[in-house]
Structures are given as C-alpha cells and as structure tokens.
C-alpha cells in the first residue's frame, strides 16, 4: 500500500470508530440503518472535534491573555509554561475520552484480517489516530506558536517553543494511549488484578491533570503563578532546579531568553537540557505508542489462565444499591471514568486552597468554593451517562424504571461531591467568617448539586434518545446543571445587594434550593411513586 491508499484506508477505519458506538448504543428511535446515518455520525464527530479544538485554543491562549492584559503579574516564563501545561491537560482529557474505543479490540478487526504487513497496518492506525486528533493538535500548535511569535518576536525562540509544544502534545498522546491500553488489556485479558493494576493510580493522576486544567486552573492561576515564578527564577533551589528541567517550564525559560529578558546562565542551561530530555522522552513515547497501535490492530489475545472451579455464590441487595454498585464497578474499570475515584482529592485542593489562604472567610468565597466543587459533580454525572451510552441499559430487558437509572448516576455524582461540603465545613469551623450563616452553605450546596445532577442526567438522557453528539450533550447537559447550581448563589447575591441583609439573602438561598429539590423530585418521578420504587419493597416475583 502506498501512502495515499493508507490514507484512504484510514478514512474507513475512522468512520468505523465514529459509527460503531452509535450502532452499539441501540438507540433505535431514529433510522440508524442508512448511509446517511454514517455521514451524520461523521459530521457530528467533526463538530465535536471543532468544539474541543476551540476549548484547547482558549486554554492555550488564556495565560497569554492574562500576561498581555496584566490581570495577574505573570512572567513570560510562567505564561508559556502554563499554556503548554494547559494544552497537555486538554489533550490528555480528550484522548482519555476517545482512545478507549480506539484501543478496544474490534475497532480494527476488519483491517487485521486483510493480508497486510504489520507495518502497513500500524501506519493506517497511526493515520486514523491523526484523524481523531487533528483539529485539536493543529489548534493548540497554531495558537501557541502564534502567541510566542507575537510576544518574543524571535524566530529562534518561536521555533524552540514550537518544538517543545509538539513534544508536549506527543507526550500527552503517548502517555494516555499507553495507559488506556493497559487499562483495556486488563479487561480483555481477563484479569482485574495483577501487575498492571499498579498503573491505575498513575492513570488517575493523569486524568486529574486533565480535569485540573479544564476546570480550575483558570481560577487557580493566581495561586499557582507566584510560587512557580519564585521557583523558576531561583534555579539553584531544589524545586527550581528540578522544575527547570521539566518540559513546560524549560520551554518557558528558553522563550524568555529569546524575548530578550535576562535569564541566568544556569536557568538557560537547565532549560535547554530539559528540552533535550523531553525530546528523548518523546522519541521513546512515540515508539511505545506505535507499538501499542500495532498491538491493538493485530491483537494477540492473552487470556490469563483461568482459575480453578469455584462455586457460584452472590449477595442480593436492594435495587438502587445494586445499581449504584454496578455503576461504580463499571466506571472504575472504564478508562474514561476510572478517574472518578481520585476526584475527591482534586476537589478538596481546588476548594480548600483558596479558603485557607484568606484570614477571614467571606461569604462569596464559600459560595464560589461550593460552585467549583459542584462543577466536578456535574462532570462526573456527564461521564457516567456517556459511558452508559454504550447501550447496555437501553437494550437490557431488566425491569428498572427510568428514575432508578437516573437516581443511581445522581447518587454517585453527588457522593463524589460530598468531600467538598465536609472539607468546607471543617475549614469554616476553624476560621473567623464575616457571616455566621456561611456554615449552612455547604449543606445547602450539596442539596443544590443533587438537584442539578438530576436535571443534567435527565437532559443527557433525552438528548441521547435523539442520538445527539457528545459536544451537544456536554454543552446542554453541563449547561443545565450549571444553571441550577448557580441559581441559589445568584438569588443570594441579588437579595443581598437589594437588602444588604445577610439573613434575608440566606433565607432566599435556602428557599430557592428547596424549590430546586422539589423540582428535581418531580423530574425523577412525576407521579410521586419514587419511594415505592427505590425502597427495597416486597419481592414482586411472578411465578408461572
């Protein structure tokens, strides 16, 4: 096969990747059997990529905007570093979402039966990978190169940062690819434990990095930048020495040098060395990626030797509990959602760090903290529903009601949020506040998050019925949730501005939260039969 043929073959493989999940989802309300449906799926995938590319671009340019406007006092070193770091996070986030279907065996099954050499097959797979990531990679590269060229005015500096940016994205792709495949192979290989399970925490951390950059690096920039700046200008300190050697920061140092600002000799040496190290690491990562790609396409099914015979025993729980347990198990084993279990840790950092920094806690800070944590919960709910889109729930003949399905997702997401109110309460207990009522906010926020998740999951399900694409679901689902999340805080702000009375504002907040809860209960079960369904009532088994 020549390159042109391989490029055409990759188009087929790519269409397969995009269309297969839709077929598998089992949504039959629309005609999925016509060729138009394939084209629709491809258009949907392009829209998805474009939206995500826009996000990535925003992430890449955000630090530069801050730098140019002077909103925070950032040095160019930190600006470039943060930009590369944000893009790294975004690329990981995207990869972790899309690569599982890439890695699962079967996506390339038709190709592997053709009489092709393994080199040809992996080249086709590589091109398919490029088709999956093209917009995102191009958007991030172009925006970073453009920004650096604009601010440094130095061709050499721009070239070096371009090099660093390419390295960083390749590393992100390679790393997520490898970890995703480790995850997947564990399942397909038939073992849930073993040496590979060791890498799971690493995977979660990687995930966390992605979400960190997506959700709250924006809000944390003022906390991250000053210590980073201090460390990077003092390369003789241990932290400074190590950081200067690591990719995004070394690129920052090098670009500052080319901008014409003074950079110490040691810093520059470390920065350049860092780029060389990154280059070597990327070369290794790329080789591993290609190996994984080939392994995916030409799988060698390595089943773990099955265990000795055992008896079949299992426990029986209430339906909702069983459902939640299932959701937890399935999501912990799915590369796209396994991160869920590391979430509380990241949440606490995101919410508590800003609070501990202040000597007196203002009501607004508490409200914002709860909002940030709530954003995480919405994200979790989104992932849980997206994973379910693979369709077992829709196609299984088990008699569970819609409300149990919704409620289970909501319970898991809300539980992922629980560390936030707990941590908030602990911090509040140990600090002077401007208003005693702020102690009530965490609990109220938990209720509001619950309601927001109910609405989000319902919207997501309705959209899935209509076969909508991921970006659309993301925007509408998370958007609806955010709206409900913000509403009480918004009501608080309005009432407070009008009355200047904290107590009145808190009352308004409580009332709006209670209304949200009522609305959520109505959405869950319009006929008010929720307790009957959820509680473990009497067995309704039917004997023939």
């Amino acid at each position: 096969m020549d390159l042109e043929e391989e490029w055409r073959a990759s188009a087929v493989a790519y269409a397969e990747l995009v269309y297969r999940p839709i077929i598998r989802s089992g949504y039959t309300s629309r005609d999925i059997g016509s060729i138009k449906a394939v084209r629709r799926a491809l258009t949907g995938a392009s829209v998805n990529k474009a939206i995500f590319a826009l996000f990535t671009m925003a992430g890449a340019l955000f630090p530069f905007v801050i730098y140019a406007t002077g909103l925070e006092r950032l040095s160019l070193t930190v600006t470039v570093s943060l930009s590369i770091l944000l893009v790294f996070g975004y690329v990981v986030l995207y990869c972790v979402q899309v690569l599982p279907s890439f890695v699962s065996s079967g996506s390339f099954a038709p190709l592997s039966t053709m009489p092709l050499s393994s080199l040809e097959v992996s080249r086709v797979a590589g091109l398919t990978l490029w088709r999956t990531l093209d917009y995102i990679l191009l958007a991030s590269l172009i925006s970073q190169i453009g920004a650096v060229a604009f601010f440094t005015n130095s061709p050499a500096g721009t070239l070096l940062v371009a090099f660093a940016s390419v390295l960083s994205t390749l590393l992100a792709v390679g790393l997520s690819f490898w970890l995703t495949s480790v995850f997947q192979r564990r399942l397909e290989g038939g073992s849930l434990t073993g040496i590979r399970a060791f890498f799971r925490p690493l995977y979660f951390v990687l995930w966390g990095l992605g979400v960190m950059s997506a959700v709250f690096l924006f809000s944390l920039i003022s906390y991250v930048a000053p210590p980073l700046q201090a460390a990077l200008t003092d390369p003789a300190s241990p932290a400074g020495f190590v950081l200067s050697l690591i990719l995004p920061f070394s690129a920052g140092i090098v670009s500052t040098h080319f901008q014409g600002e003074p950079v110490s000799r040691l810093s520059l040496t470390l920065g350049l060395a860092g780029l060389v190290v990154a280059g070597l690491a990327t070369a290794a990562a790329t080789r591993v990626t290609l190996g994984v790609v080939t392994g995916v396409v030409l799988p060698t099914r390595e089943l773990s030797s099955h265990a000795a015979k055992t008896g079949l025993k299992f426990r029986i729980h209430g339906p909702l509990f069983a459902y939640v347990l299932k959701d937890l198990r399935v999501s912990s084993r799915n590369p796209a959602t396994g991160f869920l279990f590391a979430l509380p840790f990241f949440e606490i950092i995101a919410v508590v760090v800003p609070l501990t920094a202040a000597s007196v806690v203002k009501m607004s800070v508490v409200l914002v903290g709860a909002q940030v944590g709530g954003g995480f919960a919405l994200f979790v709910a989104f992932l849980l529903v997206t994973v379910e889109d693979l369709g077992v729930e829709r196609r299984t003949a088990l008699p569970f009601s819609d409300s149990v399905r919704t409620l289970s997702k909501v319970v898991v997401s809300a539980a992922a949020f629980l560390p936030v109110p707990v941590a908030l309460s602990l911090v509040l207990a140990g600090k002077p506040t401007t208003f005693w009522g702020s102690e009530a906010v965490p609990a109220l926020a938990a209720v509001s998050v619950f309601a927001a998740c109910v609405f989000e999951v319902s919207v997501l399900k309705a959209l899935a019925e209509n076969g909508r694409g991921m970006a659309m679901k993301f925007a509408a689902g998370i958007g609806t949730g955010e709206l409900l999340l913000i509403l009480p805080a918004f009501v608080y702000a309005i009432v407070f501005v009008m009355s200047r009375d904290h107590v009145a504002a808190l009352t308004a907040l409580s009332v709006s939260t209670a209304l949200e809860l009522a609305a959520a209960c109505f959405v869950l079960e319009p006929k008010g039969a929720i307790r009957r369904r959820v509680g473990s009532g009497p067995s309704e088994r039917v004997v023939p």
Partner: protein
C-alpha cells in the same frame, strides 16, 4: 400469554414489521422461522418491551408493553441475538446485579448455581465478561434471563454459539419451562431444532406471519406429506425457485474449475 394483532414497525423508511399477528398460549413453544431480515428480532424486541411498535395491538403476559414496560419486563426472560452484558463486570457480579434489580430472594442463588454448573461455567465466575468466549457469554445471558423464573421466555436464536452439550441442556430447560405452564417464543435458523422442539411454528417473511401451525398443519398447507421443514420453509417464503436456480449456477461455476 401473547396476543399481538397487526403489529407494524417502521425504522425511518424501512418497514420491519408489516402487520404481524401472533398468539401464544401458556405451555406452548412457539418457533419463529424466517429469512434474514424477516423481522424476527424486531418482533421479539417489541414483545420484550424494548421497542415500541409503530402501530398495532399488543398484550404480553397481561400487560401492554407500550404502557407497562416494567410490568412486562418483570414477567419476561429475554435472550438477545447477541448477548447484552456489562463486559467489565464478572459473571458473578452480573448475576448479583440482575438478581438484585429484579428483587429476587435468596433461593435464586441456588437456581442460578445449578444452571451454571449444568453449563460448566465454574472456572469463569471471576473473569470479566468481555474476556469470555461467544458461547460462554451466551450461557451467561441465558442464566440471567431465566433466573427469575419468568412466565414467558423470549429467545432470539438462543443456540447461537452454544456447543452440543449446552444446546441439549438449553432445550431441556425450555421444555421443562413449557411443561410447567410457561410460554416460549424463540427464533431459529436451525430447522431440525424447531421441528423437534416446537409445539407450533410461525414462518415470518417481510414482516408478516405467512404460515403458522404444527408441523402437520404446515405439511398439509404445502400439500406435500413427506417434505422436511426446510423444504416447507423455502416454499412458503417463495424462495424455492431462487435457491434451485442459484444452486444450479454455483454447480456450473464449480465444474469449470478454479
């Protein structure tokens, strides 16, 4: 158990069912036969309350699936064409999930375990389902579908992927179920199986039941005493001439050599 009149199902421009009638009584084993794309899977999905008919009247186990999908699902055991399972759960976890969501009592563990032993699943209980072979997945789907002893079994090509021994066991499960007063509808492409097991056979073509009855009645219908079900099937689906012609052409090609 099943009372369907004039079922129609459209997928966009495709008419999968075009006025299908079906009646199944307790104790009956009803075989759905028909060419690929005839509408067997669509029919079974609608009976299992997984899809709504575009039009038509339908009662399954005393309920209308369009209004009371959950009540129908409680009374039905459905095995899909390709097993629908959570691939990342182990069989043990999956059975636990199914038994719990169906609110079954502890007795189910014994029942499931008997079946699992019969199917020789012993060494697979703690392996993720995704890693298991086609037939093993099918066995798991079957156990999950019958563990609540539903009055009605809906089996879509249930022998798919099963080895001879397991096929034999499944047939025993099905006839015991019918003898106990339960109803069974299953689709199959294996004529001998249908002939041996079914109390009644319906031949589906282009979304309609074109012929229905016991083996004897079908033979009488075709006017040939000694014909096999396969011959009957081809005649009734009007593919007899096509097959004869095609076979002739294939033989001609073959005689010319490679």
């Amino acid at each position: 158990m099943i009372d369907a009149v004039g079922l129609v199902k459209d997928y966009g421009d495709v008419r999968a069912l075009a006025g299908l009638d079906l009646r199944v009584a307790p104790g009956e084993i009803y075989g759905l036969l028909g060419p690929n794309g005839a509408g067997k899977t669509t029919t079974l999905r609608i009976l299992a309350a997984l899809d709504r008919p575009t039009s038509g009247r339908l009662m399954v186990a005393g309920f209308d699936p369009s209004d009371d999908a959950i009540e129908v699902k409680k009374r039905v055991g459905y095995v899909a064409e390709t097993a629908i399972l959570y691939e990342s759960l182990t069989p043990r976890e999956y059975f636990e999930f199914v038994a719990s969501t169906r609110r079954l009592d502890r007795g189910v563990v014994k029942r499931a375990s008997t079946l699992a032993d019969a199917f020789d699943l012993g060494s697979h209980y703690d392996v993720p389902i995704g890693a298991l072979s086609l037939g093993t997945k099918q066995k798991i789907a079957i156990i999950a579908a019958v563990m609540h002893s539903p009055p009605l079994l809906l089996l879509d090509e249930p022998l798919n992927g099963l080895d001879a021994k397991s096929g034999r066991i499944l047939k025993e499960v099905v006839s015991l179920h019918a003898r106990g007063g339960g109803g069974v509808v299953f689709s199959s492409h294996i004529m001998e199986v249908a002939e041996a097991m079914c109390t009644r056979i319906g031949i589906v073509n282009e979304g309609r039941v074109v012929a229905e009855g016991t083996m004897e009645e079908l033979r009488a219908l075709s006017g040939r005493r000694d014909s096999s079900l396969e011959e009957l099937f081809l005649k009734l689906t009007e593919e007899e001439g096509f097959v004869a012609e095609t076979i002739g052409r294939l033989r001609e090609d073959a005689s010319r050599g490679p």
